[in-house]
Amino acid sequence: MTQYFSSQSGVTIVQDMADIIIANRNYLSEIDGAIGDGDHGINMAKGFSICKEKIAGQEMTLDKALDQLSDTLMEGIGGSMGPLYGSLFFGWAEGIKGKEKITAQDFARMLQKGLDELREISDAQQGDKCLMDALIPAVETFSHAVTQGKTFQKALEEMKKAAESGRDSTKDMVAKIGRASRLGERSRGVLDAGAASCCLLLGQLAESIDRQLHL
């Protein structure tokens, strides 16, 4: 097992991400339906499908593939999710631009750059009941694990867990952002759709990279 993976596997990794979103189209819409307008899975699946088709059969580095994903979401989804996930993936791409081999340190930078870009267009905080609640703990946990000298694989595993408990933490929150915030107390008791999709994406990313590390 290596401590880096090749950026050449970009198409595979991004297609894995697309597949997990497409597979969860209805699940995500259902969550959004409880306190939102029920379109989260629809919008996300529409964007990721378009991207998957675009990159199919190509050879691309991960930064190129993420750039493609970012562009597609921004151009194919619109709404709020286009800019939000578009910025996140644009940041990820920036964080590993030009790298042929991606180490845990590189990956930590990638995650951090993604969060930075996202914060450029969103003021949302942890606790607002949104995708930040899955994303921020995941980014922090991964960095922390790397600083502590844990293996890439172990750090990914911890990141995935952090995203999951971050997602679960949204259940008891009152939404402070987005459409659900209109419901006040009534928004408590169900998961946040954006946190759920973000958790799916981070979990799939961890698995896909783990597979690369085992090659």
């Binding site: 307008d37 921004m74 619109g78 800019p83 459409r179």
Partner: protein, 332 residues
Amino acid sequence: MKRIVNDPDRLVEDGIEGYLAAYPQFYEKTENPRTLKRPQAPVKGKVGVVTGGGSGHEPAFLGYVGEGLLDAVAIGEVFSSPTAGAFLDAIKAAESGAGVVCLYGNYAGDNMNVKMAIKKAKAANIAVKTVMANDDVASAPKTEREKRRGVAGEILMWKVGGAAAAMGYDLDGVAQISQKAIDMCRSIGVGLSACTIPAVGKPNFTIADGKMEIGIGHHGEPGVDITDWKPAHETAKIMLEHVVEDKPFERGEEVVVLVSGLGSTPVIELYVYYAEIAKLLKEKGIIVHKCYVGNYFTSLDMMGVTLTIMGLDEELKKMVDYPVNSLALVQK
């Protein structure tokens, strides 16, 4: 399914096809399937005027493309901001060298997408100014006007900006007077029943029977008060008070009044409502220079009505009276 659609996920695509088929005199394709322009755009020497927004508000936004009004429009999914690319392509379609104003509404998605589009437009050496509508008094207190949503006041902002551009104002001039127009505007809505996004298939909120929601937003955003149903004259009074006090509009002031149905309210009821507004304004000594009553900015099949009042000075009056020729608005 009570809707006239094919695949509800393709509602917007199919709708755009219909607009193009029905009115080639008003609409022309661009390279971006989510951006339409008027055939004359870009008009040489004229500041371009563009907007964009989610679908489901018809005749907004597309209906206001035309002579003396908008040059191009970016089209989003139902109740969803257009992409940054669609905004950018609207800007490009309207640019003839004199610069472009993008006059849009204050929603999270639109803000983000417009911001990104502007960045790219500037990188492509297009001079762009933006004006963001925030006329909905119910969406935030007066001390936080920057948080307020843009609603039907956008139409008057487009009307004024479009007229100024047609009259030869330069980019700064068009932006300034559009800003003045929206600063002079105050709006509020009342909802009586919820709307249904066709792709979702069921209402995404409810208004209980016998209740009405004062201050509801154009996508069902929460209002300031859920009250028992009230007759038109009381509803009109409550809405007018919100609007008049907020600015405030003063005795002797000349105004434009725009009353829009939200989609399902029969047109005759809009006139019942306007009769009350006219009476109340007269009592307050506020002078109606011009009024618009109809379905100008809807929310799919929501029942309800919105009230928009814009204060006028001599310059704005000229702009409001300027001729326009669009699908939704024709003035000689």
